[in-house]
Amino acid sequence: MIHFWHILRKMKNIVKVVGFVIVFMIINNIISYILNSDFSFSRYTLHELYTTEDNIDVLLVGSCHSYYEVDPSIINEKTNIKAFNLGTSEQRYDGTYALIKEANKNNNIKTIYLEMYFGVAGKNYKADTYSEETFIISDYMKPSLNKYLYLINSCSKEYYISSFIPSSRYRKNLFDSKILKENLDLKFSKNYLNYKDDMYAGNGYVRLDGVVEGGYVSKAGKYKRIPQNAFSDDDIYYLNKIIKYCKENQIELVAYSSPMPDYNLIQRGNYDEYISQVKSLFENNDVEYYDFNLLKPEYFDFNIQYFADDEHLNSSGTVIFTTLFSDFFYGKFKDKDIFYSSYKEKIENDKNKQYGISYEIVPYENNKLIKLYNITTYNDIKMVIGHNQNIDNIVQIEPNYMEIYVDYDYVGEIEVQCVTSNNSVIENYILEIE
């Protein structure tokens, strides 16, 4: 005992330094807790990952196209295989890599399904930094070398204070009493303390309800072409690391793309190019890629009622898709040819489909010129302005292109109908002109 105190006295200064650092970390956590608005679902996902007792056999990773669109409980139920969705918002591949390693620490993962949403690709990780997509993962990871390596590599060193001292990130909230009150109310609520959320359905799946009302209408040019080099050097670097890690750990890696509304993909104009880019990434690495946007109609109906918005499936769509996903990888569709060979082929076979309309407004002399485009595979369809609209100056240029001239200060709604040659109305759209 005397010996122990003697050593302790000698170590007094070291103990003081360590104690000081511990107090610093405690204060950091307290300030972070008060100032961070904690909006992300990843808090629930990572908590469940750390607390789940069953071994996770199948891991799903990727962006919101993963956690909104695949419900692991359906796979669990149908196959008796424990699946878990570790998707997080805008998940970059460095995040995916870190999460795979984190999940594999306490689980014997056999298969990983990596979602390949093009929207998260193409970033320069060091330049596009101070990214919430990194922090919503790192903030909820347990302290480990994996976590700190992830933080070090995910951004340039100028941002290390934000990365390693999370409270500094939210310091602007210090002077916003409204946010402070909201945060404190949230942090002391039962749901928060018990990791309960209305949308978080468990196993990493987040339920997205609702459908797009009134069909798809958007401004022209919203859906840009996917870049020719969709994957940045950073993406490729981390994808290769993921592939290597999976090989080293005898994990089967499967890449896939979740279904998206055709209204979105068709307007991009080059989705097939993206598919070939993904395929070329994986072709020499024994990684299979399945694009569920190429599903034949008998297997999945890309109907608007299954989508919550122009990107994601809603909960009804997820049930159908996850069932199909499970059947394809583990059940009755295992060896079936359920895909078209290309997106072009799919659209060519998609006869008589009305996807939506897009518009652009340009000034024309003293008027506004509204250019209307119909996105459809119907051959005999035309756009018609609703009868009760007081608009006379309409020029039908082509069946799927129309010009409307309104007063420069015109504000209001315009009803657009898509009508077939036998005068049956296929779809009604409302354009809101501001």
Binding site: N13, K16, F20, V23, F24, I27, I31, Y130, K157, E158, Y159, Y160, I161, S162, I165, S167, S168, R171, K172, L174, F175
Partner: protein
């Protein structure tokens, strides 16, 4: 590598750790390597200039030392028989002067080309234009090496000290190189004297390896410097820049220009003193004591008093190596005033190759001369404590106003801008609707932080050493204060993605 950058946050602990681990005899080599790395992080080519300056001044010191020792030996030998001849004495002196002059010419030549080359060419061109003669139209394509004025003056100070025989020349080139390039004070001072820093470098192997109290105090000093830089200087800089960069566009008037100029007084103080304090702290962690460059300058009660407190290392350098050699105050009043004008004009030029700096320097010279004429013959009356206090407060306020007016020339991009701003301030008295470029809560933070700074300065003025007071308290109070200052910097400092990382103003000199 800025003191308020992540690079330094990684660099410094690594340097200190290895410094403590390497054998004592290798310590100065490690510090020399670190210092050159630190300097080269701005531009690797800068190292060539500092190496040249180091070699020349070191060689000059050796030569002067050799001449001196030869002179001493011959005078000892001769003294047994007869006195040394005046001729040999004057030969030795001439040789010494030649050495020192060569060192000054080469070092100041480098400084002149890099810092003043384009300034001279600009002015020659302007003159030629007025005389309708073809202009030179040539400019040097050179980047001003960071801190060149600081290390050049430090090295020249050493040359003069050796020449005057106040110190012995350093024979170990690497130790001398460390004296010139010691990274905590390399790029923005304090301009150390060889008697202080070189002596410590020479004895670096005798320093106590680990002294908890010293290291702790060093880190605390660094934190206090960072507080001044990040919480005050960089925050008020937002308002200052808003007004100075947009005074014409937004039509800022007297109130806003005056407020911005007052805030600039605190910006430059906290920026420069912040750097010096971090430098002192960093040096202290490693066992070195650097001089204090500032002594509560805004509590000065006169201009002369202000210069005893502001940038002390430069003021004393100019006093010792320029003002006194010019004759100081030994050659009559008129010569004294001319000397003051010369010293302050040079000091202005030292700060920057632009006329606004010269005007700033000359303004201070005029202040001093007027102060000298007005108060030198008045006998000090004895007053009651209250009256004395009121007088010193009034003197302090008046001094601050004069100093602050001169800062306007210092902050302006050029002399023309300074005059335009003064003219505009005299025309527009109303407070226009344009904001300060900062939210109200940020302004409040700045005001409270300046209040804390002034409080600390007042305590220091009353000889209350704050660190010692804090260190005497129990661990709970100490830790509250230490954690408090760290968290204030983290939460209220101007850094990170919301703000651009700011350079220290004095780096440009």
């Amino acid at each position: 590598m800025l003191f308020n950058s992540i690079d330094f946050l990684i660099f410094f602990p690594l340097v200190v750790l290895i410094y403590f681990l390497v054998p004592r005899k290798w310590r100065y080599i490690w510090l020399l390597i670190s210092s050159y790395y630190f300097y080269m992080s701005w531009n690797p080519y800068y190292a060539i200039l500092i190496a040249i300056s180091t070699l020349i001044t070191w060689f000059c010191g050796i030569c002067v030392g050799q001449i001196q020792s030869k002179q001493n030996i011959s005078s000892k030998t001769i003294s047994e028989e007869s006195q040394p001849s005046n001729k040999s004495k004057s030969n030795a002196k001439q040789l010494k002067i030649l050495c020192v002059a060569s060192s000054f010419i080469i070092n100041l030549g480098i400084l002149a080309v890099f810092k003043y080359g384009n300034f001279v060419l600009d002015n020659i061109d302007a003159l030629l234009k007025t005389l309708h003669i073809t202009r030179i139209n040539y400019r040097f394509d050179l980047l001003l090496p960071v801190g060149i004025s600081f290390y050049t003056f430090q090295a020249l100070g050493y040359t003069m000290d050796v020449y005057r025989g106040t110190i012995k020349p350093e024979t170990n080139l690497l130790k001398y190189a460390l004296f010139v390039s010691f990274f905590p004070q390399l790029v923005a001072g304090p301009i150390e004297r060889s008697g202080n820093l070189l002596t410590q470098v020479q004895n670096v192997d005798k320093l106590k390896l680990w002294n908890y109290d010293r290291v702790r105090d060093g880190f605390f000093l660094m934190m206090w410097g960072l507080f001044q830089k990040l919480v005050i200087a960089d925050r008020v800089a937002i308002i200052v820049n808003q007004v100075y960069d947009h005074y014409q566009e937004y039509g800022y008037g007297l109130v806003q220009i005056a407020v911005a100029t007052v805030l600039f007084a605190f910006q430059i103080y906290c920026d420069f003193n912040g750097y010096s304090t971090i430098a002192r702290g960093a040096a202290k962690v490693m066992g070195f004591e650097l001089m204090n460059n500032f002594k509560q300058p805004y509590l000065a009660t006169g201009i002369k008093d202000f210069w005893r407190r502001w940038h002390i290392s430069l003021t004393t350098w100019f006093t010792d190596y320029l003002y006194i050699p010019l004759g100081g105050n030994r050659k009559g009043q008129l010569r004294k005033y001319i000397n003051i004008l010369i010293v302050f004009a040079v000091s202005g030029l030292w700060h920057g190759a632009s006329w606004n700096f010269v005007i700033w320097g000359l303004l201070h010279a005029i202040y001093q001369i007027v102060e000298n004429i007005a108060f030198s013959h008045k006998k000090k009356k004895k007053h009651s404590a209250v009256v004395s206090f009121v007088i010193s407060v009034l003197c302090g306020v008046v001094t601050f106003i004069f100093v602050d007016f001169a800062w306007l020339f210092f902050r302006a991009d050029n002399a023309s801008q300074a005059f335009k701003m003064i003219a505009q301030a005299l025309h527009i008295f109303s407070f226009n609707g344009y904001g300060w470029g900062m939210e109200t809560y940020e302004i409040m933070i700045a005001v409270v932080a300046i209040g804390i700074l002034l409080l600390v300065d007042i305590l220091h003025e009353k000889n209350i050493a704050l660190f010692e007071v804090i260190n005497r308290r129990n661990i709970v109070i100490r830790w509250i204060l230490y954690q408090g200052i760290i968290w204030t910097i983290i939460m209220l400092g101007v850094y990170g993605v919301e703000y651009d990382p700011s350079q220290f103003i004095y780096f440009q000199f």
